[in-house]
Symmetry: C2
Subunit: 344 residues, 2 copies
DNA sequence: TTGAAAGCGTTACCAC
DNA sequence: GTGGTAACGCTTTCAA
């Protein structure tokens, strides 16, 4: 729960009062109700043109901007869609998706707000979000549990959606099929005749949620084929990659699925520095299909991941807001397809 | 100005009312005032321990979460710091800076919110932000003009800060010295004996604001030395880079400052594919000091950019909020220093 | 130690 | 057509 400051900010010499609709009404010589009607284009009531003009002019002159808090307090609901602000760098793919989503939601008259939640533990975050009384909450990744969902719904959120690798009780879930990403990579490597497949598991926090299902996907693809999977913990640092590369030949691998393109670049570089031929001796496959991969030599094979379009997701949010019970709770998303280049 | 929906969302079968402090009071058998005292730890008034417990239990049982809008409406101010949500992928450097800032601000009891402003034109955005009555607004890049600053201040924002390449009238500005970035690169290349320096100008929208000052910085470094600067427009696509590389030798350049590490990678790859030796024939320098650069061969020389620390910026925001007039309006920031590796 | 009441800025319902 | 008025949820004097 957010604490208000113990003592309000000190009033500077001249704190010119913020204009309210009452000020506009006074200046225009009408009532507050009329101001509201004019400024909100209320169609149920007809206001004479001269009056409208006077109101608009007054608002303009005073620099009047309506007070969202007062409005939503009165209305009993807001049009705010809240998302937690990402706390890791977002790639081009995801960034574009976010933009699209935002744009589509604003077309539907929603306001998208990303809430900085660093330092908030689990349910604290949900409580903090709930204080803003968003009409919808959209949470990518993990970080929202059933408790949090409950808090949000209890405080009026009509839609709580998660976008991640696992279902969350009570929320609408867009299930990101990371297993399928690994499966694509595994099946591809198998088809290329590889039999000893390493799978990179990033040591960085929070990535296990994705890397584990991807690993499982590779396992699934190779099951019963005689090909073997080896787990390869790796930190996103040159040194860690160098250590792994140094013992590469002892691992007896002829392929590696490197979690994503960036880890792939890191590892491929280390392998090459160690004299390991790619793809001759070891095939390398990344994921995310970044520009990066096309610039490497050999060009990096990768798993292209297809997120749902921002427009689709926006419409889903809107449907859930309008009728939470009328929309299935789980949606499978995320197409994955291999992009074969030169590294495999 | 945000339109409310013409008709409110249809009430589903059982819209269980959101609990208010009145509900908590009723359940605990006390008055609303007492609830407020207990939940806000108001020190000016002592509440008996049993009563406190009853209130807390009631709040817990009902899943009560205070209503931020009502609170800030009553208080007359909020502790919200608003930033526009970035609409381009943010790199690791900036992302970490944002996290730090957010964390530091939350330590100071502020709530950081990123507002999705795509589709809003210039001053519309400022009006939309102003509706939320943030106590501070922090705008990286351009996108906020004097008009917008005025709107925000008029609606109660005590601090309006911009973080960008140029001053904005009325706002506190953290002047990002992109000129210095170019200057570092230029001076370095000059010291390495280069005389024909190309400077990449990204064609992507919005980057001119940074690339122009960087170009000027290079020019400044080379002025009066006999070395020449050539502008090199470049899109972030392989094909564009290939075209540039194809005519490279006709340009008679022995060095290039590639705007940043990503463009540097793109261009360096194209040059190498064209048979141009780096750094023998042409030196390449990037900027941002990404991990990326260390993985390239030759390792990429780069300009390391030092943003102000999140903590410092948070403290600045806080100082401006407390006393807008007591803080100088313009701050020069952004240290730039060359990191010499192998590509130059 | 607790309670009653006023008021923050809006909008919607009813009279005029 | 237009103008009072009540109410949204909360905090904070002021009284008891």
């Amino acid at each position: 729960m957010v604490q208000l400051p113990k003592q309000p900010v000190p009033s500077s010499p001249a704190p010119p009062a913020v204009p309210t609709s009452a000020d506009v009404a006074r200046l225009a010589g009408v009532s507050r109700a009329t101001v509201s009607y004019v400024l909100n284009n209320t169609r149920a009531v007809r206001i004479s043109e001269p009056t409208r003009r006077r109101v608009h002019e007054a608002a303009e002159e005073l620099g009047y901007v309506p007070h969202a808090a007062a409005r939503s307090l009165r209305a009993g609901h807001s049009r705010m869609v809240l998302m937690p602000a990402p706390n890791v760098p977002v790639g081009a793919l995801y960034s574009q998706f976010l933009n699209e989503l935002q744009w589509a939601l604003s077309r539907l008259d929603y306001t998208v707000v990303q809430y900085g939640s660093i330092g908030l533990q689990g349910d604290e975050a949900a409580r903090a979000w709930a204080e803003l009384r968003p009409v919808a909450v959209l949470v990518p990744g993990a970080g929202l549990g059933p408790q949090g969902v409950h808090v949000l719904k209890r405080s009026g959120a009509r839609a709580v959606l998660t976008l991640g690798p696992e279902r969350v009780e009570g929320a609408h879930t867009l299930l990101l099929d990371h297993d399928g990403v690994g499966h694509s990579a595994g099946a591809h490597l198998l088809a290329r005749g590889r039999r000893g497949v390493g799978v990179v598991l990033p040591l960085e926090d929070g990535l296990a949620l994705y890397s584990r299902p991807r690993l499982e996907g590779v396992r699934r693809a190779l099951r019963g084929t005689g090909a073997a999977v080896t787990e390869l913990p790796l930190a996103y640092e040159e040194e860690s990659a160098a250590r792994l590369a140094a013992r590469w030949r002892s691992l007896c691998l002829d392929a590696v699925f490197a979690y994503n393109d960036e880890y792939a670049m890191l590892l491929m570089r280390a392998l090459q520095d160690e004299g390991v031929d790619v793809p001759g001796e070891t095939a390398v496959v990344g994921a995310d299909d970044l520009m990066l991969g096309r610039l490497l030599r050999p060009r990096l094979s990768t798993v292209h991941i297809e997120l749902p379009s921002g427009r689709e997701l926006a419409e889903l949010v809107d449907r859930v807001v309008r009728d939470p019970a009328g929309v299935p709770e789980v949606h499978q998303v995320l197409g994955a397809r291999i992009v074969h280049r030169e590294s495999s």
